[in-house]
């Protein structure tokens, strides 16, 4: 007679609140739930009635962790609605800014939130005592990412200078050149991280699912391209509703999404599975070294895919800085003219594909807004993963079951704070 009762009232080391509930008796699961009780924040409602120039400012506040993603998606949605084509300089700067966020987020996730699980410590704080070099290195990379974002948009959390139509301030090229040196150095830090990751014992768990990410024939897609799926042909981003298919299920706490299967996955692993051929050379080599190849169906490998992507964004940043230095940067005049219409912006946030969808009136005031965040798209997949995982490990000690479950959730790097469409349901 065994009884497992797990009630993790909020999983730590994730952004936002998420609870895990497992009730099992005699090897039979009675209740298994990934629950998201984050406060609903009503961003779509808040955006209605706002002037376009304030929209991305507010939209950025959906999530402090991936505010650059939200800002970029928001700006691109507005630009799509107004029919604005950003300049080449703007696109280069946006990509570079995006790389900064990806670098910071992936370093934070892989070294501060994930690594402690594998290094047998509770968190980054004891890690500072046991593995100070790792912490120092992680902070160094994080600082670099912050400084890169600061050079481009004054700050990383809620960036300032990137606006509809372009940038209100252009970076100092000397500053970028100095950052490039640090980015080159950063590759060495990543090699150290890789050597740590090589020693980690990643749980062997396979569940095949549908993988969805942006795909751009020209490059590893971050802020451009179409919605690609492992199961279906790509569709333009403004057809996103046909992919996300949000729905509510009575036993669930969050709005679920599904496309071709029961659930789908977005994020680093989905991108890796769909776009790995477009990774930078170092990233490709490291993927090989770490034994990850597309398609990979192990969700615990998301962090490995993140590490691979970190190489890619660092190399991409170096490349972008070279391009900017070569072509020079100049102040570009603000030529935004509002226009009535609808526009969709889609970017690959660190945790996966993100959609902002706005309808404007002729004065540039929002009349309707919709945002679909990556974590919400993953909730269903997390639930399905748990349902596949738990029966296989139910014979293990409760603590171990709990840790495996938490690690699975953490692997997804859920960013619940966005919580644009989360539900809070009380269970009896």
């Amino acid at each position: 007679m065994t009884q497992v009762k797990i009630d993790v009232h909020y999983v730590t080391r994730i952004e936002g609140h998420g609870n895990l509930i497992l009730d099992a008796k005699d090897g039979k699961i009675e209740k298994l739930l990934w629950e998201v009780p984050e406060s609903p924040r009503f961003f779509e409602a808040m955006l209605v009635g706002r002037h376009y120039d304030d929209v991305h400012h507010i939209a950025s506040r959906i999530c402090g962790i991936c505010s650059i993603s939200h800002t970029t998606a928001s700006i691109q949605a507005t630009e799509a609605a107004f029919g604005i084509k950003p300049s080449e300089q703007t696109i280069l700067l946006r990509k570079l800014l995006f790389d900064a966020e990806m670098l910071e987020s992936h370093v934070l996730h892989t070294l501060f939130l994930i690594a402690p699980d594998f290094l047998g410590v509770d968190s980054v704080i004891p890690l500072a005592a046991t593995h100070p070099d790792v912490v120092v290195m992680a902070l160094r990379m994080k600082k670099l990412a912050y400084n890169l974002a600061e050079a481009l948009a004054q700050r990383k959390t809620h960036p300032l200078s990137c606006v509809v139509g372009g940038f209100t301030k252009v970076p100092d090229l000397n500053e970028l050149k100095a950052l490039k040196k640090r980015l080159v150095e950063c590759l060495k830090d990543l090699d150290v991280e890789t050597s740590i990751f090589k020693t980690l014992k990643i749980p062997d768990f396979i569940r095949q699912t549908e993988y969805i990410a942006l795909k751009d024939p020209k490059e590893y897609a971050w802020i451009s391209g179409q919605i690609a799926s492992s199961d279906a042909p790509a569709v333009p981003i403004d057809k996103y509703l046909g992919v996300t298919n949000e729905f509510c299920v009575p036993t669930s706490t969050a709005k679920y999404t599904k496309n071709k299967r029961d659930s789908y996955m977005v994020g680093a692993l989905a991108r890796f599975n769909l776009n790995s051929k477009q990774l930078s050379p170092r990233a490709k080599a490291v993927a090989k070294e770490l034994g990850i190849s597309a398609p990979c169906f192990n969700p615990y490998m998301i962090s490995v895919a993140q590490l691979v992507e970190t190489y890619h964004v660092v190399e991409d940043s170096i490349n972008l800085i070279d391009q900017l230095v070569e072509r020079g940067v100049k102040e570009e005049p603000d030529k935004v003219k509002p226009k009535a219409g609808r526009g969709v912006g889609a970017v690959e946030a660190p945790r996966g594909i993100l959609f902002h969808d706005y309808t404007y009136d002729a004065n540039g005031i929002i009349t309707k807004a919709n945002c679909i965040i990556p974590t919400n798209q993953n909730h269903n997949n997390i639930q399905k993963d748990l349902e596949a995982l738990v029966p296989k490990i139910l014979d293990k000690p409760q603590a171990e079951i709990q840790k495996m479950m938490e690690m699975l959730v953490r692997a997804y790097d859920p960013c619940v704070s966005c919580s644009t469409h989360a539900l809070t349901v009380t269970f009896k």
């Binding site: 909020y10 730590t12 080391r13 994730i14 952004e15 936002g16 609140h17 406060s39 609903p40 924040r41 009503f42 779509e44 409602a45 808040m46 706002r50 002037h51 304030d54 400012h57 507010i58 506040r61 959906i62 999530c63 402090g64 962790i65 505010s67 934070l108 501060f112 939130l113 402690p116 509770d122 968190s123 980054v124 704080i125 500072a128 100070p132 912490v135 902070l139 160094r140 994080k142 600082k143 912050y146 948009a153 004054q154 700050r155 990383k156 959390t157 809620h158 300032l160 200078s161 606006v163 209100t168 301030k169 709005k255 704070s417 966005c418 644009t420 469409h421 539900l423 809070t424 349901v425």
Partner: protein
Amino acid sequence: MKPKVAFFDFTSCEGCQLDVLNLTAEELLDLLAAVDIVNFREAISNRSDDYDIAFIEGSISREAEIPRLQKIRAQAKVLVALGACACIGGVNCLKNHLPMEQALKMVYGDAAKNYDTIPARPINAVVPVDFYVRGCPIQTGELVKVVKALLLGKKPDIPNYPVCTECKMAGNICVFELGKTCIGPVTRAGCNAICVTGGRQCWGCRGLVDEPNKNSEEEILKKHGLTPEQVVEKFKIYNTYVEAKK
């Protein structure tokens, strides 16, 4: 005895907590030498209910958050509000302009009835607050300043003058001279006018100064072409709660 520090988050984007970690290695090690961080859900797994200083991020927007905050207040010797959401309500309060049912319906449709939501408010609407680290997001430097002041037992020097002062020190060209508008003249400084420096304008995320000359600011905004409605909108983004209370 090192003071025990705990971080808690309520309704927020968690950007402020994230920026707490925007330290150099040296700073983080110095910080860990000076304090014990016993609660930081975003970064650490262990939890403790024994702490001296509580940093609160986020505003209160659900019934369930009220007793949780009150419990923290009862435990903490010092309670510090972290960021605009906690200090003044911040962007969360934008939803207060809509009837709650309408807001819920707009976002969640038929599932709206399942939500526990109340008008968003800053934490000092629920419990007394000892110190404020303002801004959306906070400036890590200011947080460090407050931590140091607490450790040294002195009052942190937080400006009570408007953003204009720092904006001028930064050598910025006034946004009004560039044909835009801004509520920096009544907003509390301490941010080094980072938004104007970045080519934007002040939205008032640090809240207003103690004695804002709002009448004059409103006249100036109108003189620069804003309609009375647009003037009200200007103050809404971060200061909805404070403005509504008046």
